[in-house]
């Protein structure tokens, strides 16, 4: 008898537990995409009116802006947000910049399905395709961002933000690559610090002269072709073009790195700094730290590095010169961190309106000017970039001069593209593998990725 009572009580408990879990489950799912989709139509009408009403009431709308952790950018954005909030007292921007660069994409991927992500997000332009495929970004409203005006006012690089004529993201600033040189090391090596290399041959010559070795170790790296740093861009968009080989076909469907003798020549040239010239090996250097520590003569990097050098190595005696030309061809890689508006913002018209206003504010020429001063990136709006003072700037001038010939690579997946070049380089440098065969493997790896990407389109 007692036994039965116990059992009935236990089964009651079990049923209660099940009921509890069953109730708990659906709301958790609701906060996801399904819920948003069903609610959207009803909401739209209501919120259209509601958005204005909210503004009139002085009700504060909160939007979230996310970027990765990089001190100069954080400071600049905090400044912009302060200005924006002063102009728009009914909008509050929450600035999330806790995520380190390495984990930024992962964090987005994890937070967005959970419904706690950003409304306005900072992303590398090369990620845009993947983020669009994921349905994460929404088109920028044309009335706020008229395509013709954008094309006329912004650096031509920004073309990469248009997909089939629709604009999805817009940057505050852009950057190009240039050659950094350490004046003290050049002087110590008997080189004239006022005439840094302007051609590839000069770079080779001066790098050899600047290198100081101690047995197997390098006391001073002359120049390191490091694909894990900016080296992979240098190979793709600069060296290949200078040896007469465009990196990808015009329709971005075919990888052409090994499509001609010129391609292989460019690759040999890239590897030669680690093998024949012995001006430094990619496995021995820590970039960019070693340049900041004054152990590297010549170093390819972006304008974004100026800010961190000023912060962490203020005494470094260095200069910046345009990327060395070869065969009369000048080229550099251009890229930018751009800002997009997410589905999360688009789900609520009031938030969308606030997000649009915020995006407009952070992409003005004035914002670009503030950004160049605080971060060292070039203004995305030409009006601010054509400033003669900027062109004459000792450090920024070289980057600004690169703007007219800078190319932005179309990436299917930049990290895998980069990995293929890192692996090819490592195979040659670390295991003495055949350079040509390794380049072929890299091309095959990246081409397969391209084929897969285009097959779905």
């Amino acid at each position: 008898m007692k036994q039965r009572k116990l059992w009935s009580l236990l089964s009651l408990l079990l049923i209660a537990a099940l009921a509890f879990t069953a109730c708990a489950a659906p709301p958790a799912g609701d906060s996801g995409a399904a819920g948003a989709a069903t609610e959207a139509p009803a909401d739209e009408a209501a919120a259209d009116a509601g958005g204005e009403a909210a503004a009139a009431d002085g009700e504060v709308i909160e939007i979230e802006y996310w970027q990765y952790n990089f001190q100069a950018r954080i400071d600049a954005m905090n400044e912009l947000i302060a200005q924006f909030e002063a102009e728009n007292p009914n909008i509050k921007v929450i600035h999330n910049s806790d995520t380190p660069y390495d984990n930024f994409r992962d964090k987005i991927a994890a937070s967005v399905p959970a419904g706690v992500g950003p409304d306005v997000v900072s992303l590398f332009y090369g990620w845009q395709t993947a983020w669009l495929d994921a349905g994460y970004l929404v088109p920028l409203p044309e009335d706020a961002f008229p395509p013709d005006e954008i094309r006329a006012n912004f650096s031509p690089m920004v073309e990469a933000s248009f997909v089939d004529g629709t604009l999805y993201t817009l940057p505050t600033a852009v950057r190009t690559l240039a050659l950094f040189y350490n004046k003290d090391l050049m002087e110590a090596a008997g080189l004239d610090p006022e005439s840094p290399p302007t051609t590839l041959d000069e770079l080779k010559e001066q790098a050899v002269q600047c290198t100081v070795r101690n047995g197997d170790a390098y006391e001073v790296f002359g120049f390191v072709a490091n694909p894990a740093g900016q080296g992979h861009h240098w190979f793709r968009e600069v060296l290949l073009r200078q040896f007469g080989q465009q990196p990808y076909s015009d329709d971005n469907r075919t990888v052409l790195w090994n499509a001609s003798e010129g391609g292989y020549e460019a690759w040999h040239e890239f590897l030669s700094f680690g093998t024949e010239l012995e001006t430094g090996r990619s496995d021995l250097i820590t970039e960019p730290d070693d340049f900041l520590a004054g152990k590297v003569c010549f170093h390819i990097d972006g304008s974004f590095r100026l800010g961190s050098i000023a912060e962490n190595a203020p005494d470094l005696n260095f200069g910046v010169v345009e990327m060395p030309e070869h065969n009369g061809i000048k080229s550099t890689f251009g890229s930018y961190w751009t800002h997009g508006i997410t589905q999360k913002a688009a789900a609520d018209p009031a938030r969308m309106e606030a997000a649009t206003k915020f995006l407009q504010f952070i992409t003005t020429p004035e914002a670009g000017t503030l950004w160049v001063e605080m971060v060292g990136e070039l203004p995305a709006q030409l009006a601010a970039a054509e400033n003669p003072e900027l062109l004459a700037d000792e450090k920024l001038g070289a980057f600004v001069a690169g703007l007219p010939y800078a190319v932005s690579t179309f990436f299917v997946d930049e990290s895998k593209d980069r990995q293929a070049i890192i692996d090819a380089n490592d195979a040659v440098i670390l295991t003495g593998a055949d350079p040509d065969a390794e380049l072929d493997i890299a091309v095959q790896t990246v081409q397969e990725m391209y084929d897969e990407f285009w097959a779905d389109r």
């Binding site: 967005v112 399905p113 993947a130 994921a134 047995g215 496995d283 890192i422 490592d426 670390l430 790896t445």
Partner: protein
Amino acid sequence: MNLTIRQRRIVWAYSFLSVSLIFFLFIRWYPTLLAVNISFRDWNVFAGSGEWVGLQNYADIWEDLFKPRSAVRAAFWNTLRYVLFGVPLQLVLALGIAMLLGQIRRFAGFFRAAYFVPYVTSFVAVAFVWRWLYQPQIGLLNQIITGLGLPMQPFLTSPSQALPSITLVAVWRSIGFAIIIFLAGLQQIPDMYYEAAQIDGANRWQLFRRITLPLLNPVIVYLAVLQTIQFLRMFDLVQNMSTDNAGGPLKSTTTVVLEVYKEGFSGYNMGYAGALTVILFLVILLITMLQLRVLSRRVDY
């Protein structure tokens, strides 16, 4: 309802247990089952849904195994190597140290703590410190090596040395746990067996071989299974010791879990990552069952 005190206690026990059961259902089981489901879909991370594609993801993995410089092939092969190097090394070293620790009386607590400290240190901190120690040119280990007039060693930057270097750190990091378990196991063996054997004229090796080892069998099995699972799930150390080129150089240190992470969270190929997870789960299950069958022996004296 009139319940006896005993019955009431049982009811309370079950109600408290059911709380953690619910927790496990949602935090452990539900995501696990979801991962299995995702592995059969072309999953879109942002939409939180995906089309059913059957075994496509598994077929893709199979195909990728045969590509030149295949990341998944390297991952499975490396994971196996981590287990084959790491587990035996860990067990042998831990048993040796535990036996030494069992013999000392002075400073015994200090020594035990010293060996156990790495275990309570975070993997990431351990990874960063060891990365600096291993660094070419300026790392402490290389300074010592070159100071002795020996050639500089590449350690983490060499495709052949990187995996053993990381394995050693993994062993160092978690050996404290194995030592403590072994110590406890050793103390469970009654002294009378040793005394009896010694009277019969057994030497030290025979004592170890015939008494210590067989009676430690349950502990050894427990540790072998646990450590194998840990090495099969190797991730944190690799991710943090090969920055800039995670799993490198030349994919020589990548693991299955690292590839799951890369595919899932930076390539957004959740389906593929899910399929890899399921395969890893099956491998772990299979190996664990094998270990339990082969290693377990009941010994009674």
